[in-house]
Symmetry: C2
Subunit: 161 residues, 2 copies
Amino acid sequence: MFRLSKITDYGIVLLSHMAGSDDRAGDHVIHNARELADHVDLPLPVVSKILKSLAREGVLESHRGARGGYSLKTNAERLTVAQMITVLEGPVAMTECADSAGQCLHEESCAMRSPWQLINHVVKNALEEISLADLIRATDPLAAILSSPIQPDQPARLGDG
Amino acid sequence: MFRLSKITDYGIVLLSHMAGSDDRAGDHVIHNARELADHVDLPLPVVSKILKSLAREGVLESHRGARGGYSLKTNAERLTVAQMITVLEGPVAMTECADSAGQCLHEESCAMRSPWQLINHVVKNALEEISLADLIRATDPLAAILSSPIQPDQPARLGDG
DNA sequence: ACTATATCGGACCAAATCGGTCCTGTAAAT
DNA sequence: ATTTACAGGACCGATTTGGTCCGATATAGT
Ligand code: FES
Ligand code: FES
């Protein structure tokens, strides 16, 4: 179906919410799982599971014990969608042979390795152009960008410019 | 896992093979399923299944009966990876709410619709930049492009230049 | 007309993946 | 000590995927 998993979907929503409520100085506010679950209207265990893995992978910082929770560990400008996806569902590898060598049966007789790498590269690159900050900025001034396709000779980078 | 399904993977390989063996004048050669299955070293029923759906969706033209088979219906320059993916596994919609309105439960209270559309748009756009012709061209002169990341101020379009 | 060749459409099943829940343990604050 | 909240992972039902198989139909060649 070519979709991101729901875990990834939810995870990015959670990260956006957290980044959006960080104070202006850029300090990282602590949110606990229950609070976040309420906010995005998802079951606590699900949210909890996602936050745990985000913490394990170093995207969030966890604070245990009473009044604990999670806070962003990275600057929202620097955290890309590609990274979030990678953390939440493994490396962006559109097919088995898109990665480096050795995985695929055919490989020798196959003229497709480079093509797959091309596809993979282009998608990965596109996802690396979007930062978490772009996402929380996107709610309004996006319309203009969305209505017209991104031109190759225009900057592909969004938000920063 | 953020992968294309194997059907899609195989399908694109098959299309590449067919496009690659079209004669120089651009005429579309007929290949039958068995021949193609041998060539890409996959079980006949699998290849057959894929070709059937490609034909049903109008990407291939089918020729029934003895000495029948399939031929490309579209120019390889015009057929994009985005189209192939769409045909083989449905529209590129990275999350449920990436499409147009009405699907999602939250939607009202949700600040994520535009962000998802942004992500979806960027990926879709990237996939639309690659044509089948690009893929069969990619085997050799690609290395240089792949080794250095695409710069935003360089052309994002590959193959045509 | 008969036969061999191929596609057409869909049913079918096993295996893998996904989405979600739950439980036990541990660290911190009061 | 008690309460709060994260850590880690087992677990299970539901869905999706990957792959096979079959009966029907259309065409080419004899
Ligand atoms: S290397 Fe895997 S199919 Fe080509
Ligand atoms: S519209 Fe679906 S989560 Fe926002």
